[in-house]
């Protein structure tokens, strides 16, 4: 009977109930959508970083990570690479030579990180070929081609086919200079990296550094399924016992922090939206109690105890939430599904976002677990909001309530 009365009570003032349900729907939709948008933004950044820059696992000489000097190499990297490339779990693996140096144009000079790469192997990893806006991907077959980010070309005031000189130290600490011709200009989703990373053929750089063909500074492994990362990482360590094996979380701790902080954002954003909802529910339920004072007094007079009065008010709020909650989540899910498929173009901000490695098209996405978290938070908020109005109802004196006009 209590359930029946509470259910019917919420439909006594349909407009008011729909306003509360509407607030819950909008609140939940806003919560899940903002979270999905934020996660879409971050995930894109993480995917870009992992797939195009870091790969899932990298192997270096233990000293290379600290010193960044080319003399710290992985011996027999060619044979290790061929083993890795045959692994079922591996999508792609490549060897890189890396050195820090200066790039000089006719007008200016800039500090750069020079990557010696194997063009074919890197198609699935760095994906330089996809980001080229001018030139062809190592098409000439010449060893003096260099690929430079658009931002750096502007800084150096050079263009395609321009000649540049790259200076660095080889593994014996001799200063080496070499002339390169700009074979392609690329623009990735991370403009800050575009300004400092330049790419040449590994073979060419190895010669200049005086590295053996079997030596590399970095082995990068992209897995087919990230879920296998932890177990595979320890397997790689056994394969290269003298190397320092790191996954992308070790290499870029800020990305892991982004994921962890996202969980915190989930609670903060949802909390703020639900706080606003709290005021709506408190206000509505309080109005609902105050306009029923006589009726509540009568209920107490005929045998309804305070526990039942309290339960009735809480049940009314629970029902309103029970209607609003799934509706809000469904609309949220639907909008995420649609916009997650077609994407949201935020090109107007893309220049600023790209500086931080974000894409200009965001695909909202949300883990199913977050829907549950938001729903539970909403339900708890609604019930907590109803406590004060229900408490006010408990304070009523039946004799005084019945006399109220």
């Amino acid at each position: 009977m209590l359930v029946q009365i509470a259910w019917r009570n919420i439909w006594r003032n349909k407009t008011r109930s729909f306003v509360v349900i509407g607030s819950i729907v909008i609140g939940l939709w806003a919560s899940v959508f903002i979270l999905a948008f934020a996660w879409g933004l971050y995930k894109n950044n993480i995917d870009e970083s992992v797939n195009r820059q870091l790969s899932h696992i990298q192997i270096h000489h233990p000293e290379f990570t600290n010193q960044q000097e080319s003399k710290y190499v992985i011996k027999n990297s060619d044979s290790i690479l061929s083993i890795l490339q045959k692994e079922d779990l591996v999508q792609a693996a490549s060897a890189r030579s890396i050195t820090q140096g200066m790039i000089t144009s006719p007008t200016t000079v800039a500090g750069v990180t020079i990557y010696g790469i194997s063009p074919k192997a890197e198609i699935k990893q760095i994906g330089l070929n996809e980001n080229l806006i001018e030139g062809d991907y190592f098409a000439s077959g010449k060893g003096n081609e260099i690929f430079i980010g658009e931002k750096l070309t502007k800084k150096l005031k050079i263009k395609l086919r321009s000649k540049v000189v790259v200076t660095f130290t080889d593994i014996h600490s001799n200063i080496v200079s070499a002339a390169f011709r700009v074979g392609g200009i690329y623009k990735s989703k991370n403009l800050s990296l575009d300004e400092v990373n330049v790419y040449v053929q590994k073979q060419s750089l190895d010669k200049l550094l005086d590295l053996q063909p079997s030596e590399s500074n970095e082995l990068a492994i992209l897995l087919k399924d990230e879920a296998a990362l932890e177990s595979y990482k320890s397997g790689v360590q056994q394969l290269v016992p003298s190397g320092k094996v790191e996954d992308w979380k070790d290499l870029s701790p800020h990305l892991e922090m982004v994921i962890e902080s996202f969980n915190l954002y989930t609670y903060i954003i949802t909390g703020i939206i639900l706080l606003a909802l709290t005021f709506g529910i408190v206000n509505t339920m309080l109005m609902s109690v105050l306009e029923r004072i006589r009726e509540l007094g009568m209920l107490m007079a005929i045998g309804f105890n305070k526990r039942k009065i309290f339960s009735m008010i809480m049940l009314e709020t629970f029902f309103l939430t029970l209607i609003g909650c799934p509706l809000g989540l469904f609309i949220g899910w639907l909008s995420i599904l649609i916009l997650g498929t077609y994407g949201i173009n935020i090109a107007i901000f893309s220049e600023g976002l790209a500086s931080y490695g974000f894409s200009s098209i965001i695909y909202p996405e949300l883990d199913n677990q977050i829907y549950w978290i938001v729903a539970i938070m909403c339900l708890i908020t609604a019930l907590l909001s109803a406590i004060y109005p229900a408490y006010r109802a408990l304070q009523l004196n039946p004799a005084e309530s019945i006399r109220k006009i």
């Binding site: 107490m300 007079a301 045998g303 004799a399």
Partner: protein
């Protein structure tokens, strides 16, 4: 002499919420026997509703004691009082008597459900009561679909549902036209006669007063007169 059903001793009630304390009842003594049909009359503010509230345990006296069917209700805890009321006292108010979202059947059944009466017995009793107040055809009507008189008759049926020893009615006819008021009083008098339920009702209405067998007049929170009469 019959069994004493209501026994109030030196009942006083002072409301201190206002700047000047209001003495609603002053040393009221009241003794009502089982099966009586008593009208409580007096001008507005004379303490009629307050006295009914004290007897019904809806409010506590500032001083004095109230016994209902031998139980000193002024000493009962809140929860025990609610339970006592549920089992022994029926209420009929001036208005807002019924739960607006429930039908006549549900309003009456509600009290029986609180008493944990099985569904089958509940249904039977509800129909009996609606028949007694002449509203069996309104079994599925909500209060909003009933006239004022019909609502009060459903309220009387609900008050009777728990088979109480006393029914307290606070100006039950105040919002009714004379025909409905007369009809309601006839039903109450019949139930009093046939089922020996004690009725104590407050009223201003002279035609209602004439139906009572005993008339207690309150003035300024004190019993001014207590007269036994032959009802018309």
């Amino acid at each position: 002499m019959g069994k004493t059903i209501i026994d109030a001793h030196n009942v006083s009630k002072t409301y201190k919420e206002t700047m000047v304390p209001v003495k609603a009842l002053q040393d009221v003594h009241l003794h009502i026997e089982e099966g009586e049909f008593v009208a409580l009359v007096g001008p507005s503010g004379s303490g009629k509703s307050t006295l009914l509230n004290m007897i019904g345990g809806l409010d506590e006296p500032t001083s004095g004691t109230v016994f209902v069917d031998g139980v000193e209700i002024t000493k009962l805890s809140e929860n025990k009082m609610i339970d006592f009321r549920l089992q022994n006292i029926g209420f009929v108010f001036q208005s807002f008597n019924l739960i607006p979202v429930l039908t006549s059947r549900e309003n009456i059944g509600f009290v029986l459900q609180l008493q944990k009466v099985p569904k089958k017995d509940r249904e039977k009793r509800v129909l009996e009561l609606l028949r007694e107040v002449g509203l069996e055809e309104k079994v599925n009507s909500r209060p909003g679909e009933l006239s004022g008189g019909q609502q009060q008759r459903v309220a009387v049926a609900r008050a009777l549902a728990s088979k109480p020893k006393i029914i307290l009615a606070d100006e039950p006819t105040a919002n009714l036209d004379s025909k409905s008021a007369g009809n309601l009083m006839d039903i109450m008098a019949k139930l009093n006669q046939e089922e020996k339920i004690t009725f104590l009702f407050s009223t201003h209405d002279q035609r209602v007063i004439e139906k009572a067998r005993r008339v207690i007049t309150l003035v300024d929170g004190k019993v001014d007169s207590d007269v036994v009469q032959t009802p018309t």
